[in-house]
Assembly symmetry: C2
Homo-oligomer: 502 residues x 2
């Protein structure tokens, strides 16, 4: 019997009609069953008379299937395969965990440290392989990427493949998908999977000269369903309905976006993560809607992360807090130091962030648009932060405002807890941001933590020693009365963090 590892992909290949337009004419689906669990999945036409149905088994054991179709030769096909335990590196798809966070299906925490290469799968194999080699060196575990090619400043080249068939004048036949495109796209998803990277798939975007941004409603729905049929069985995908959806509202009104969400929520058998990305900061989609699993946001006002958590009650992923680079636009010209600084603020306050890189290049090869190589300095420090998170005991909750469990109330202002996250009483991570304290008051009642001083830029971790304030130093505690506490000496420069472990 065929052996398929849990959360890997089983594929049933069938031969059927190629006459007429199978994309429109042929209905094909299957039920996969294992020990009471049922998956209803759609098949799809893959050209040249070939049909496929894919399944991601979510349970160990024997799976059986049977097909349904309006075409006799595709209907009533049955069979089975055996689902084996997941290998060590296979943790399953990523889902929401503990309200504000993520975890793989096997329970392993997933801390999102994403990057952005919108059109990397449209650059031809040479550059795409280079992108993969770069990703292997970097520490990103998510990538934002478009299905369609991109037309935008620094992005003017034609793609290697097109998602729909085109005539010699470039006119799309939106009723016929081009399997060559999709084989290539799927290979890249598997390449990412091999690197342990989630593909945050941007289904629509406004940067377009090919007609994909202005497809009509019927085409939009057919495209979305074809996408579900082809790739929902890839365990490393997230659905991002759009980049800057609000710039598409003239063509796709809000009701259509709502419908897209509903289709995904009901028809993706694996319930992959779903969100949508705004352009204007005042035009956030209503992420409180139940079909939205997490908040994807574009907003440089990173200090609001605690408010966003309260507002949405979902994981916050700020995928565009502006990019390291030097291009003319505000969204792509912050320094590496500032990029790293913003990541730390997001993460220490219990959110997640996305990276991008936009340095001028004479060949227009900017990482954010096309992939290739990283030229900047922030990506290494972001990897350093990811490592710190993964060495820790769990996801962080912010320690300020109403969630401040360290020093609530007025006393809190004497301790620098603006960017402080905690797991529980045993673990705290406090980012000091722009502050360059020479001595820092410790928000701890007892000297029983191991304290590390983290230099977020130089990527060093140095043990720090708490000392009890005595004698003349107690003036620091004027307002605390008898509650004399502890302090720590610091290098007196910005961009440090403190880690407390019991």
């Amino acid at each position: 019997m065929t052996q398929i590892e849990k959360w890997n992909r089983f594929e049933l290949e069938l031969q059927g009609p190629s006459r007429g337009n199978p994309f429109l004419d042929v209905e094909l689906s299957a039920e996969f069953r294992c020990d009471g669990e049922v998956q209803k999945v759609q098949g799809f036409y893959d050209g040249k008379g070939t049909y496929r149905i894919r399944c991601m088994p979510t349970k160990e054991g024997t799976w059986t299937y049977s097909t349904q179709s309006n075409v006799k030769e595709l209907d009533g096909k049955t069979g089975s395969f055996n689902c084996t335990p997941a290998a060590k590196a296979n943790h399953g798809p990523v889902y929401v965990n503990d309200t504000f966070h993520f975890a793989y299906a096997d329970g392993t925490p997933y801390y999102s440290f994403g990057t952005t290469c919108y059109a990397w799968t449209h650059q031809g194999d040479e550059m795409e392989e280079q992108t993969l080699a770069t990703l292997k060196e970097a520490s990103f575990n998510k990538i934002r990427m478009c299905v369609f090619p991109k037309h935008y400043p620094f992005n003017h080249n034609e793609p290697a493949y097109y998602a729909f068939e085109r005539d010699s004048e470039g006119k799309n036949d939106f009723t016929r998908f081009d399997p060559v495109f999709w084989h290539h796209f799927e290979k890249r998803l598997d390449d990412l999977l091999e690197l342990g990277i989630e593909a945050d798939i941007i289904i629509w975007h406004p940067y377009d000269r090919w007609g994909y941004a202005t497809m009509d409603e019927e085409t939009d729905y057919r495209y979305l369903r074809y996408l579900i049929a082809r790739i929902s069985s890839f365990r490393n995908i997230w659905w991002s309905l759009a980049n800057e959806y609000d710039f598409l509202l003239e063509d796709k009104p809000m009701e259509r976006w709502d419908t897209f969400f509903k289709i995904l929520a009901t028809e993706d058998p694996y319930n992959h993560l779903r969100s949508i990305h705004n352009g204007d900061v005042n035009m956030n989609y209503d992420h409180t809607k139940p079909e939205v699993t997490h908040v994807c946001i574009q907003n440089a006002a990173i200090r609001n992360v605690v408010e966003w958590r309260a507002q949405y009650g979902k994981p916050i992923v700020n995928d565009e807090l502006e990019y390291e680079g030097n291009v003319p636009y505000p969204w792509g010209a912050i320094s590496a130091e500032e990029e790293v600084h913003r990541f730390w603020i997001m993460v220490a306050n219990g959110g997640y962030a996305g990276h991008g890189e936009t340095y001028f290049d004479e060949n227009d090869e900017l990482w954010w648009g096309k992939g290739g190589v990283l030229r900047g300095e922030s990506w290494k420090r972001i990897g350093f932060l990811r490592k710190i998170m993964e060495e820790g005991p769990g996801a962080l909750s912010p320690q300020r405002g109403s969630e401040n469990t360290l020093f609530p109330g007025r006393m809190g202002r004497y301790f620098n807890l603006k960017f402080a996250g905690g797991v529980n009483d045993d673990y705290h991570l406090i980012y000091l941001g722009d502050y360059q304290h020479k001595i820092m008051l410790l928000p701890l009642r007892h000297n029983d933590y191991q304290i590390d001083i983290i230099d977020t830029w130089n990527m060093t971790i140095t043990p720090g020693k708490a000392f009890k304030l005595e004698g003349s130093e107690t003036y620091l505690y004027d307002f605390r009365g008898d509650e004399k506490g502890y302090a720590i000496e610091l290098p007196g420069k910005p961009h440090l963090a403190l880690r407390f472990r019991k």
Copy 2:
């Protein structure tokens, strides 16, 4: 006849009773008249049988006066003096101008660039003279300073003088002011006037061990009226009801603060500027109340300045956007670079900012508390910014949001106008903050401005040259259609500003 320069101080000295308690028993006031203008001012007891009545003439010409008192020997005194034109450096008191800004009484614009030395007048002559020498070198034109001494971390010394008489055990007699204190305090106000510095006088504050923070209501009102009688005739004073008034609310409820404002608004003959400073960022006094002339705010969220302008419709002075330094507290540990950065953001968006410096010192001589010397690096750059403002044609209005007159609407996002201020079409100042554009799109339709590239940290001003985007560079204008525009090459590093002059 006595000659008094316009906006200088005329003082009438009278001898009267010293028996009993003249502070409580004696009423004394005067009317000063000049060509239809009438000032009703209160006199005050200055100890040893001496009474004084002060007047700041606001009009050239002959002023006459007559006194009123419940004591015969002080009543009905008359006389006159001649008010001469103001000297070149004397522009009169500062008032609100053009809704969001300030100007001296003679119409000269006043751009507020303040610093903070809360208790500098309580440090003894040697250090106070040092403070004045430092102020002479620096470029601040306002100083926040308390009437009363300060008890706080790094501030533990006894003052040289006390505002009220005290017995040998340090118990205050709140019914008797101590003239020695007031002579000294007034000398310091005149010292500041000589340096062209406005004294932003903090009338109450919570950092206290002497009993001044908890005076009863009657004492509070008597103290405020004594202050008005003594120093309202000093042209360089502003009234700041409190520092962190909200930490005093237990002793002084909101109604009392409202009454303080009303007393000042009706009894200060010169209508000096009035505001009040919060501690908690959520506890701003309601600055929309009509007696409040301008908004004094403590808030590190400097990017909100445009919203504050809209909210209050008054000048915004962020006197505590956190201080350059390295002490344990968040409010006193940002880098010099960050301090300068915050000043530029406030000013470019049409607000004003205040400086402070809190570097650890083995003798606890921190500028913010006691004055002395400046050790940091931000003060020079703040002076550089003040010079740029004073060389410009007027006060700045923000150029973003609804006030964006450069590039309104969606196109605005392709130009970096987050921190852009303009006077009119002839003058714009755009601060680029954290952004390090290598090429910047210019929000101008014609190449007819003189453009300067300002390095806000290195304090250099370099002419920049706009070039028209042509050929392949026009891709930068994908979204602009035929509106091809201009760009400028920049050094590609943060903390630059652009100045446009027609």
